[in-house]
């Protein structure tokens, strides 16, 4: 995309992303928080599309939609006040964590600005699907395989943990069978 086009897409979506990201933690209602997060990461997908790789952007959009919906689903299940109607304050030490977060953000920003990154202008197209495919199947196959296997373990583990009665099939204490 042309640099103007990129800028046009980048700035608004960056703004939306940051604002929605912030509001995720300030809203009372959990469903809204989940969907705000979905919005934030979805817009991030758009930024990916604008900046570099089409494939990654689309993939981000696809992934985030499913994930954030599940996130919302879980929050509704496990939060004491999903609707945010009882005005519970779900936070602690807000001020200190905010201060720390700001400090870290500023630190990283400073680092980003200070270090002189190798400013190679974009000669060719960003790596498109074919290149990524060859990369995945070529040089980085091993790590991708490894990642794949880890995900498998995680899924199996997750399911086992979530199964009623936990790993050993014991009846949950006090809970129904």
């Amino acid at each position: 995309m042309s640099s103007l086009g990129t800028a046009l897409v980048f700035w608004p979506s960056a703004a939306i992303m940051l604002v929605t990201g912030l509001y995720v933690f300030r809203t009372a209602s959990m469903a809204r928080a989940g969907l705000l997060l979905l919005a934030s990461l979805g817009v991030e997908g758009l930024i990916f599309l604008a900046l570099a790789s089409e494939f990654l952007g689309v993939l981000q959009l696809l992934m985030m939609s499913g994930e954030m919906v599940i996130m919302t689903f879980f929050m509704v299940m496990f939060m004491p006040d999903p609707g945010g109607l009882m005005g519970m304050d779900m936070t602690h030490e807000k001020r200190r964590s905010a201060a720390l977060a700001v400090a870290v953000a500023v630190g990283l920003a400073v680092v980003a600005v200070v270090t002189d990154w190798p400013a190679q202008t974009l000669n060719g197209e960003a790596p498109d699907v074919r290149q990524i495919g060859f990369e995945v199947m070529g040089r980085s196959m091993f790590s991708f395989l490894f990642a794949g296997i880890t995900i498998l373990f995680a899924m199996v583990g997750g399911t086992l943990l979530a199964k009623h009665g936990g790993r050993l099939g014991l009846p949950a204490p006090g809970g129904d069978r």
Binding site: F25, F78, V102, F134
Partner: protein, 102 residues
């Protein structure tokens, strides 16, 4: 218009927000959302590098893929843990779950 420091700056801010969420929230799931945001920030940085610093490095893209799977993975395992904890303690509030105290 847009150069690498700008993208990294936005990424840093997003990371900050994520961190605020992680540190500020009492509920396990909100903390996980914070983590999701931080991971998103890292992806943003990676994309920034891909665009402005190392455009021909396909491994950058590959890395983004890895982070994406990581986000999904982290969420999945997180939820599983929260489910099992919730089943035992009927709560996912971190302030109540302090049994591993020293």
């Amino acid at each position: 218009m847009i150069s690498l420091p700008v993208v990294l700056g936005v990424g840093a801010v997003m990371f900050g927000i994520g961190l605020y969420g992680v540190l500020g929230q009492t509920n396990a799931i909100m903390v996980m959302m914070g983590v999701e945001l931080m991971l998103g920030a890292s992806m943003l940085n990676l994309i920034g590098f891909m665009r402005y610093a190392w455009p021909d490095a396909a491994s950058g893209a590959f890395f983004v893929l890895i982070v994406m799977t990581l986000m999904a993975l982290e969420a999945a395992v997180g939820f599983a843990l929260v489910i099992s904890v919730f089943r035992n303690r009927r709560t996912a509030e971190l302030d109540d779950l302090t049994d591993l105290k020293g």
